[in-house]
Symmetry: C2
Protein backbone atom coordinates (compact mmCIF):
# COMPACT_ATOMS: atom_id res chain seq x y z
CA UNK A 1 0.00 0.00 0.00
CA UNK A 2 1.19 3.48 -0.76
CA UNK A 3 2.38 5.55 2.17
CA UNK A 4 -0.38 7.81 3.39
CA UNK A 5 1.34 9.71 6.23
CA UNK A 6 -0.78 11.78 8.58
CA UNK A 7 -4.28 12.88 7.63
CA UNK A 8 -4.92 16.62 7.85
CA UNK A 9 -8.32 16.75 9.49
CA UNK A 10 -10.76 19.47 10.55
CA UNK A 11 -11.80 19.94 14.17
CA UNK A 12 -14.01 17.14 15.54
CA UNK A 13 -16.66 15.87 15.35
CA UNK A 14 -16.19 13.64 12.30
CA UNK A 15 -16.25 9.90 11.69
CA UNK A 16 -13.58 7.21 11.51
CA UNK A 17 -13.76 3.87 9.72
CA UNK A 18 -11.22 1.70 11.53
CA UNK A 19 -10.32 -1.28 9.34
CA UNK A 20 -7.90 -3.85 10.76
CA UNK A 21 -6.91 -6.81 8.65
CA UNK A 22 -4.61 -9.78 8.38
CA UNK A 23 -3.40 -10.34 4.82
CA UNK A 24 -3.11 -13.73 3.18
CA UNK A 25 0.39 -14.57 1.86
CA UNK A 26 1.36 -13.23 -1.58
CA UNK A 27 0.39 -10.03 -3.35
CA UNK A 28 -2.21 -11.32 -5.85
CA UNK A 29 -2.92 -7.80 -7.09
CA UNK A 30 -3.49 -6.41 -3.60
CA UNK A 31 -1.01 -3.54 -3.60
CA UNK A 32 -2.29 -2.11 -6.87
CA UNK A 33 -5.90 -2.33 -5.70
CA UNK A 34 -5.07 -0.83 -2.30
CA UNK A 35 -3.43 2.16 -4.00
CA UNK A 36 -6.45 2.49 -6.29
CA UNK A 37 -8.84 2.41 -3.32
CA UNK A 38 -6.90 5.17 -1.54
CA UNK A 39 -7.12 7.28 -4.71
CA UNK A 40 -10.83 6.47 -5.11
CA UNK A 41 -11.57 7.29 -1.46
CA UNK A 42 -10.14 10.78 -2.03
CA UNK A 43 -12.82 11.43 -4.66
CA UNK A 44 -15.75 10.42 -2.41
CA UNK A 45 -18.21 12.94 -0.95
CA UNK A 46 -17.37 13.81 2.64
CA UNK A 47 -13.95 12.11 2.58
CA UNK A 48 -11.59 13.88 4.99
CA UNK A 49 -8.41 11.82 5.03
CA UNK A 50 -6.85 8.41 5.48
CA UNK A 51 -4.00 6.83 7.46
CA UNK A 52 -2.79 3.33 6.80
CA UNK A 53 0.03 1.00 7.72
CA UNK A 54 0.88 -2.69 7.69
CA UNK A 55 3.61 -4.58 9.53
CA UNK A 56 5.87 -7.30 8.18
CA UNK A 57 3.57 -9.87 9.81
CA UNK A 58 0.78 -8.83 7.41
CA UNK A 59 -1.37 -7.21 10.10
CA UNK A 60 -2.57 -3.79 8.99
CA UNK A 61 -4.70 -0.92 10.21
CA UNK A 62 -6.31 1.65 7.92
CA UNK A 63 -8.37 4.51 9.31
CA UNK A 64 -10.45 6.50 6.81
CA UNK A 65 -12.14 9.69 7.98
CA UNK A 66 -15.46 11.03 6.70
CA UNK A 67 -17.79 13.86 7.64
CA UNK A 68 -20.85 11.66 8.23
CA UNK A 69 -22.11 8.10 8.49
CA UNK A 70 -24.21 8.77 5.37
CA UNK A 71 -21.05 9.34 3.34
CA UNK A 72 -19.42 6.25 4.89
CA UNK A 73 -22.44 4.24 3.70
CA UNK A 74 -22.01 5.71 0.20
CA UNK A 75 -18.35 4.78 0.17
CA UNK A 76 -19.18 1.23 1.25
CA UNK A 77 -21.75 1.03 -1.57
CA UNK A 78 -19.46 2.46 -4.28
CA UNK A 79 -19.45 -0.03 -7.17
CA UNK A 80 -15.68 -0.19 -7.66
CA UNK A 81 -15.14 -0.37 -3.90
CA UNK A 82 -17.67 -3.22 -3.65
CA UNK A 83 -15.70 -5.17 -6.24
CA UNK A 84 -12.54 -4.64 -4.17
CA UNK A 85 -14.38 -5.71 -1.00
CA UNK A 86 -15.45 -8.95 -2.71
CA UNK A 87 -11.86 -9.67 -3.76
CA UNK A 88 -10.75 -8.89 -0.20
CA UNK A 89 -13.15 -11.50 1.15
CA UNK A 90 -12.16 -14.06 -1.47
CA UNK A 91 -8.39 -13.60 -1.73
CA UNK A 92 -6.64 -10.92 0.24
CA UNK A 93 -7.77 -11.12 3.84
CA UNK A 94 -7.45 -13.99 6.25
CA UNK A 95 -9.58 -11.91 8.58
CA UNK A 96 -10.70 -8.32 9.09
CA UNK A 97 -12.61 -6.20 11.60
CA UNK A 98 -14.32 -2.93 10.81
CA UNK A 99 -15.48 -0.36 13.36
CA UNK A 100 -17.27 2.90 12.70
CA UNK A 101 -16.65 5.56 15.32
CA UNK A 102 -17.44 9.20 15.95
CA UNK A 103 -14.30 11.20 16.72
CA UNK A 104 -15.07 13.50 19.64
CA UNK A 105 -11.63 14.87 20.54
CA UNK A 106 -8.29 15.14 18.75
CA UNK A 107 -4.84 16.46 19.46
CA UNK A 108 -1.37 16.11 18.06
CA UNK A 109 2.25 16.54 19.06
CA UNK A 110 2.63 20.24 19.79
CA UNK A 111 -1.06 20.95 19.27
CA UNK A 112 -3.56 21.11 22.16
CA UNK A 113 -6.84 19.22 22.34
CA UNK A 114 -9.79 20.20 20.17
CA UNK A 115 -13.34 18.88 20.31
CA UNK B 1 6.26 -3.77 19.41
CA UNK B 2 4.79 -7.13 20.27
CA UNK B 3 2.17 -8.48 17.88
CA UNK B 4 -1.28 -7.72 19.20
CA UNK B 5 -3.49 -9.37 16.57
CA UNK B 6 -7.21 -8.67 16.62
CA UNK B 7 -8.91 -7.31 19.72
CA UNK B 8 -11.86 -9.33 20.99
CA UNK B 9 -14.39 -6.63 21.80
CA UNK B 10 -17.92 -6.51 23.20
CA UNK B 11 -20.83 -5.11 21.21
CA UNK B 12 -20.68 -1.32 20.70
CA UNK B 13 -20.85 1.29 22.05
CA UNK B 14 -17.33 1.62 23.44
CA UNK B 15 -14.43 4.01 22.87
CA UNK B 16 -11.33 3.96 20.68
CA UNK B 17 -8.07 5.84 21.20
CA UNK B 18 -6.57 6.08 17.71
CA UNK B 19 -2.86 6.87 18.01
CA UNK B 20 -0.90 7.34 14.79
CA UNK B 21 2.79 8.07 14.96
CA UNK B 22 5.97 8.45 12.97
CA UNK B 23 8.99 6.99 14.77
CA UNK B 24 12.39 8.62 14.90
CA UNK B 25 15.25 6.42 13.60
CA UNK B 26 16.78 3.88 15.99
CA UNK B 27 15.21 1.89 18.80
CA UNK B 28 16.45 3.84 21.87
CA UNK B 29 14.48 1.60 24.22
CA UNK B 30 11.23 2.03 22.32
CA UNK B 31 10.34 -1.61 21.64
CA UNK B 32 10.75 -2.61 25.27
CA UNK B 33 8.64 0.32 26.47
CA UNK B 34 5.97 -0.31 23.82
CA UNK B 35 5.65 -3.93 24.98
CA UNK B 36 5.48 -2.74 28.58
CA UNK B 37 2.74 -0.21 27.74
CA UNK B 38 0.65 -2.89 26.03
CA UNK B 39 0.98 -5.06 29.14
CA UNK B 40 0.18 -2.11 31.41
CA UNK B 41 -2.86 -1.13 29.32
CA UNK B 42 -4.29 -4.61 29.88
CA UNK B 43 -4.34 -3.95 33.64
CA UNK B 44 -6.24 -0.65 33.40
CA UNK B 45 -9.88 -0.26 34.45
CA UNK B 46 -12.23 -0.41 31.49
CA UNK B 47 -9.57 -1.60 29.04
CA UNK B 48 -11.18 -3.73 26.32
CA UNK B 49 -8.44 -4.49 23.82
CA UNK B 50 -5.69 -3.13 21.60
CA UNK B 51 -4.57 -3.45 17.99
CA UNK B 52 -1.25 -2.11 16.79
CA UNK B 53 1.01 -2.19 13.76
CA UNK B 54 3.91 -0.28 12.24
CA UNK B 55 5.28 -0.36 8.71
CA UNK B 56 8.91 -0.44 7.61
CA UNK B 57 8.71 3.32 7.02
CA UNK B 58 8.23 3.85 10.77
CA UNK B 59 4.61 4.98 10.47
CA UNK B 60 2.41 3.16 12.98
CA UNK B 61 -1.19 3.03 14.13
CA UNK B 62 -2.29 1.75 17.54
CA UNK B 63 -5.94 1.61 18.51
CA UNK B 64 -6.72 0.98 22.18
CA UNK B 65 -10.32 0.32 23.19
CA UNK B 66 -11.92 1.31 26.52
CA UNK B 67 -15.40 1.24 27.95
CA UNK B 68 -15.58 4.98 28.71
CA UNK B 69 -13.85 8.32 28.25
CA UNK B 70 -13.36 8.42 32.04
CA UNK B 71 -11.19 5.32 31.88
CA UNK B 72 -9.30 6.72 28.87
CA UNK B 73 -8.52 9.81 30.99
CA UNK B 74 -7.27 7.54 33.80
CA UNK B 75 -5.05 5.65 31.37
CA UNK B 76 -3.62 8.93 30.07
CA UNK B 77 -2.91 10.02 33.67
CA UNK B 78 -1.30 6.72 34.76
CA UNK B 79 2.11 7.59 36.23
CA UNK B 80 4.13 4.99 34.32
CA UNK B 81 2.26 5.81 31.12
CA UNK B 82 2.97 9.52 31.62
CA UNK B 83 6.67 8.76 31.87
CA UNK B 84 6.45 6.84 28.58
CA UNK B 85 4.52 9.70 26.99
CA UNK B 86 7.28 12.13 28.00
CA UNK B 87 9.94 9.88 26.47
CA UNK B 88 7.79 9.59 23.34
CA UNK B 89 7.73 13.38 23.00
CA UNK B 90 11.45 13.70 23.65
CA UNK B 91 12.92 10.75 21.77
CA UNK B 92 10.69 8.29 20.00
CA UNK B 93 8.20 10.21 17.89
CA UNK B 94 8.87 12.58 15.05
CA UNK B 95 5.16 13.31 15.13
CA UNK B 96 1.93 11.80 16.43
CA UNK B 97 -1.82 12.37 16.26
CA UNK B 98 -4.33 11.11 18.79
CA UNK B 99 -8.09 10.89 18.27
CA UNK B 100 -10.70 9.72 20.74
CA UNK B 101 -13.78 8.24 19.15
CA UNK B 102 -16.99 6.49 20.18
CA UNK B 103 -17.45 3.22 18.28
CA UNK B 104 -21.07 3.01 17.19
CA UNK B 105 -21.06 0.00 14.87
CA UNK B 106 -18.75 -2.95 14.31
CA UNK B 107 -18.59 -5.99 12.10
CA UNK B 108 -16.03 -8.52 11.01
CA UNK B 109 -15.35 -10.99 8.24
CA UNK B 110 -18.10 -13.58 8.53
CA UNK B 111 -19.87 -11.68 11.31
CA UNK B 112 -22.78 -9.30 10.67
CA UNK B 113 -23.01 -5.74 11.93
CA UNK B 114 -23.65 -4.98 15.57
CA UNK B 115 -24.39 -1.63 17.16
Amino acid sequence: MSATGFAQLPEPPYYAVIFSSQRTPGDNGYDEMADRMVDLAHTQPGFLGIESTRGEDGFGITVAYFDSTENIAKWKANAEHRQAQAMGHRMWYQHFELRIAKVERAYGMGRPAAG
